[in-house]
């Protein structure tokens, strides 16, 4: 059974196909509006989330499918002590595909190893968040016209930010990528990510704490939130939470070509005044995320042999 736990579970060719499908959905949504009729997506969210869960649910509805959802982890069997493995086996009896978020790292892999239907990781603690990265990649493709030859600045919490590690893994596979990693010392990208995803691939990168100095050379500035829920120590969180705040004034340091991205939700790291800047793309990411989730659901259901008919895109009939 094919699952997507990590962005690296998808080849660059498959990502190209997903982008192609997403662009086709954007062009002609009616073609896809009934393609998943009778199919059910189970959204298992063991951690609070609004946008990712609703994005998956909107994606499935727009494909003509149905959604099985639990209201919250507190109302699920997990609260009674059921294991992730058992939950995955049980839900496999009800649904055709699972999207799961869980606070523990590796939970989605456990679910995938036990489910008999495809599992999509919708975030496992601070580890991976591949569908956010798919949203990011479609946004970059639509805004910059390419995924190659870009200087990507990533700013904020680069230690615990799961979207950061997934984005680095994804962009490190495209030719000509260069990373500028902007963070306080305590929230640097973990060494193993730098070693495995950047250094070994011979990708140029710099690490800095100075956002203003880094901005002029960037094609993309990817801002992230300092996440309270990843800290064991409230003091550390309070000390670091205001490390970087992007203001309209600061945007003057950037070139006209630099786009601003953010996985959202934001707290205060991007001033609301920046929203009016045409280089601000974070709300476009949200919409792009829905289209890429639609494309991914189609791909996985197609590969599992659960879709048929003339409207099924070529890529999922492989």
């Amino acid at each position: 059974m094919r699952n997507v736990i990590d962005i690296l579970d998808l080849s660059t060719q498959e990502i190209d196909s997903l982008i192609e499908t997403a662009l086709d959905i954007i062009d002609d949504p009616a073609k896809y509006s009934d393609i998943c009729r009778g199919k059910k997506l189970a959204t298992l969210f063991f951690e609070p989330s609004t946008r990712t869960r609703m994005s998956f649910e909107a994606a499935m509805y727009e494909l003509g499918g149905n959604v099985l959802s639990m209201a919250s982890a507190a109302s699920s069997s997990a609260a009674k002590g059921e294991s992730v493995a058992d939950t995955a086996k049980v839900i496999s009896c009800y649904a055709d595909i699972i999207a799961m978020r869980h606070p523990k790292e590796g939970a989605a892999l456990v679910a995938a190893n036990n489910a008999s239907i495809p599992v999509i990781n919708a975030g496992d603690g601070g580890h991976c968040h591949p569908t956010q990265t798919l949203a990011d990649l479609l946004t970059i493709k639509r805004e910059k016209g390419t995924l190659s030859g870009l200087t990507v600045g990533i700013c904020g919490d680069l230690k615990f930010g799961r979207t950061v590690h997934s984005l680095i893994n994804a962009m490190s596979r495209y030719e000509g990528t260069r990373f500028v990693l902007i963070s306080p010392e305590e929230l640097r990208v973990p060494d193993y990510v730098i070693d495995e995803s950047i250094v070994r691939k011979g990708i140029p990168y710099t690490e800095t704490a100075d956002l203003d100095a880094a901005m002029p050379e960037l094609d993309i500035l990817y801002m992230t939130r300092i996440q309270r829920e990843r800290f064991f120590n409230e003091e550390d969180y309070l000390r670091l939470k205001d490390s970087y705040i992007l203001t309209a004034d600061r945007m003057k340091n950037a070139g006209p070509q630099m786009i601003v991205m953010h996985p959202l939700p934001r707290v205060n790291e991007i001033s609301v005044a920046v929203d009016d800047d045409e280089r601000a793309c974070y709300f476009k990411q949200v919409l792009n995320g829905k289209y890429m989730r639609m494309a991914l659901i189609l791909m996985l259901l197609g590969e599992a042999g659960k879709l048929s008919g003339p409207a099924v895109p070529r890529m999922i009939q492989l």
């Binding site: 294991s83 493995a85 523990k104 590796g106 496992d124 193993y192």
Partner: protein, 138 residues
Amino acid sequence: MNIEPIVNGIVIDHITAGKGAELYSLLGLDRLDVPVALIRNVPSKRLGKKDIIKIDAELPVDFDVIGYVDPGATVNIIRDGKTAEKRTMELPEILTDVIKCRNPRCITSTEQELKHVFRLADREKREYRCIYCETKAE
């Protein structure tokens, strides 16, 4: 010091001196109901000194554990008093339930009876990472 030769069993030889006890423990040899000898600091031409473990029974041995603790060790299977098979060890690609993931955020910290599995991430550095959370093995 004399230890009876083995007729049918296993000799783990060329163990780096000092690692015999760790291997003895990780292989669970303390729980065996057969004669087992751990000989430490045996003079060795190649190593200066080495540890040796002799097990007086041909039991299934987890070669991955030996490869992980000491890839330089050799395993001799003894049958009818002769070396029937000689195996050299290497770092295993996957380690299952040999070491524990210490990351409190990892699913292994809460999931019932989930095996702790590590993959070899860097052979040169002998670095293993948890397959669930990618935390480095300590």
